[in-house]
Assembly symmetry: C2
Homo-oligomer: 415 residues x 2
């Protein structure tokens, strides 16, 4: 009979172990149409096959001219040029001679013979002639061929997380498909004879497996593909077979429940016997039963069955590793400072994640800790506005102390 | 011939106009399976039809007992109780009599006759008897029926943005489907005879419409449904017909291009003639041609054709309104302080969005402004690490000045 966790692993140590073992994992790549590549990591350098601009073009609306003809121009003695016509962005390349200029739209090709564009505001029109009232420097208001992106240049480098602004750049150089790192595949199951799926009928002695759909949602939001093995009975062979199945198809296995130290918690036993345990239990509250092992050289993270505990284990242990794999930095929530409305005692050596409600009084935020027993209590999630993280070296927080609160819910009320 | 913008609208004023007119728009609702509702706004109060816990249950692994039998217990004179058996989470409700206790797993139903659970650590086992070495208070380590969520209680309120942790709570009270606000539908088209789609072959005089796929990606990421009308020719009737089509099917229309003051920019003319203009041109750089009108009581936002200008117009004008509609607060990017490496002159009265590269020297961040002409230059997006926003009341920023930089690209390098 297992009566307790041997050694609770500190959060920083647990993360260091996981990052060292699995942080450098390599992923194959897959080709995607450009429009589907947002949020993915580029698996190739994208090299431009064209110059951008592809030709010298006007950077403003104005008149294309030979700059040397304006060198002595001023309001009293303007350069007077014959207006030869107009060039639009979709026009062919035209030509001007001495004494001539052409009206030109932003983006239109500079005519041969011209080397600058003067803005409309600096000119006057009179009987088909343009009076230029100031000198115009060579290449003024001209975007030169290749000035923006040169043919052969690396435009976006391998390893970059593609955001929507990259799509514009890649589209403009004619990229249709990109090679991206494939999504991490996460296998997941819950264990417990008492569990039923949330769409099944609740009976006495049964508990809805509410943690699994929540973690699946979180995984998808984090950019993962989920392989859901459902609820597995508290049976040695069934658990073993679920792990073996998922270990070949997944990059990581997440189990929910079966990690505490009750008699039926077979999971840690199985991991120790057939695979390898990295740590069993963590110095965090809630989330203490969070444990990790190695299966087929892949991480297997055991999350507690209770939703609040699982959430803490997921966000602070699983998500940092997944974010490394996907290149995202979603972990950082907005933080506010607040005054704690009552004393919160904590156990030294354990990192506490305290849920709190926030209210605003006279422009100051007050944090009311939600003090309820047990990680099982769901209402602490729905009622809380934020999390207060209490370090291992503290014995608690005092009433009136200023604390930092990570906002976990709708942030509308906190400017 | 339109030669300029009449009055450039300041960003704060433009936003105030849009928010006032369209910020309170109401959206119908739709039913979704719980697992698909993450990131959506709840359109109903969710009321629990059950008590959680559904029965009094153990909050820890331990022994269920009658608390009054332990009141004088201490290590030298423990209460000695006969161990009657074991109760798991999926067990039926059992019963104990005076002088008895039962081993109980976390989550298991408290037996009739018991009113508290003592933790394993506070006991000793001997020949089928449990020695309890300290007094146990009534209801200690017991989660009482309805303690967490009461039947009839509002669990998640209407208007809440559903995050993944809500899914756990809702699943646990047996909610299968939820009513959510439907996604905003955004109609979009680009105008310009010179434009081709990014998967078409580039020729002289043609420009890839790179802005539209970028904005479409951004809209989807922001939680919108996109109705893409593609590229519309610079033709009065074609533009008018695209607007009319989209005005019935969309909540907002976004047009790209055709908003500058060149001869072919028909869009503002059409809006003024057939619909109503809210503002034409903004005091922002890049993004000056960004304009807005009202079509069929819906906002029509005209973004410039150049990707960088469109991006600024999108992020600072369109996105704030969409975020109000979807309840998201994605706009806030991480900010760092950096020292400006060179002087940046700006025009007073215009809000400037300066792109900058960031490097780190001796633990300090240095911002190198990317000084290139024109909003057309794409490389300012790919090369920039961040945006520096320069307020309208400034005439520029000085070399050596400390500035706040919004990080726009992969944040990996900035701790």
């Amino acid at each position: 009979m297992r009566r307790g966790f041997k050694e609770l692993k500190k959060l920083d140590e647990a993360l260091a172990i996981l990052m060292k073992k699995f942080g450098n994992k390599s992923f194959e790549s897959e080709k995607l149409p450009l429009s589907e590549a947002i949020g993915r990591i580029l698996a190739e350098d994208i090299i431009s096959e064209i110059d951008v601009p592809a030709f010298d073009r006007a950077a403003v609306d104005g008149f294309a001219l030979k700059s040397h003809e304006t060198f002595s121009a001023n309001p009293y003695n303007p350069a007077i040029l014959k207006l030869k016509g107009i060039i639009y962005a979709d026009s062919e390349i035209r030509e001007i001679s001495e004494g001539e200029c052409m009206e030109i739209s932003t983006g239109a090709p500079i005519p041969r013979g011209a080397d600058a564009v003067v803005m409309i505001e600096d000119c006057e029109l009179e009987n088909g002639f343009v009076k230029v009232k100031r000198p115009v420097a060579r290449f003024a208001n001209v975007s030169l061929k290749g000035e923006d992106i040169k043919k052969g240049e690396i435009v976006v480098s391998k390893g970059k997380l593609l955001k929507y602004h990259h799509i514009g750049v890649l589209a403009s150089i004619g990229v249709r498909e990109v090679l991206v790192r494939r999504k991490p595949k996460i296998g997941i199951f819950s264990t417990g004879d008492e569990l039923i799926n949330y769409h099944e009928k609740l009976e006495v002695g049964k508990i809805v497996d509410s943690t699994r759909p929540m973690i699946i949602g979180a995984l998808k939001e984090a950019g993962c593909e989920v392989i859901d093995r459902g609820i597995v009975k508290d049976d040695y062979n069934e658990i073993l077979s679920a792990i073996n199945d998922l270990s070949s198809s997944s990059d990581m296995i997440i189990t929910i429940g079966g990690t505490s130290v009750g008699r039926k918690d077979l999971l840690p036993e199985i991991i120790e016997k057939y695979f390898s345990m990295l740590f069993h239990g963590m110095a965090i509250k809630p989330g203490k039963p969070t444990s990790a092992g190695i299966v087929n050289e892949k991480p297997l993270i055991m999350l507690p069955g209770y939703p609040v505990a699982a959430l803490i284990g997921f966000e602070f242990v699983v998500l940092p590793l997944i974010n490394i794999w996907t290149g995202r930095k979603r972990g950082k929530r907005r933080r506010i400072k607040a005054i704690l409305s009552r004393r919160v005692p904590t156990t030294p050596g354990i990192r506490h994640f305290l849920r709190a409600k926030i209210r605003s009084i006279d422009g100051k935020f007050i944090a009311d800790p939600i003090m309820i027993t047990g990680a099982g209590l769901l209402s602490s999630i729905t009622k809380a506005d934020g999390l207060i993280i209490i370090r291992e070296d503290l014995e608690g927080l005092e009433e009136g102390e200023e604390v930092e609160v990570e906002l976990i819910n709708d942030e509308e009320n906190f400017p």
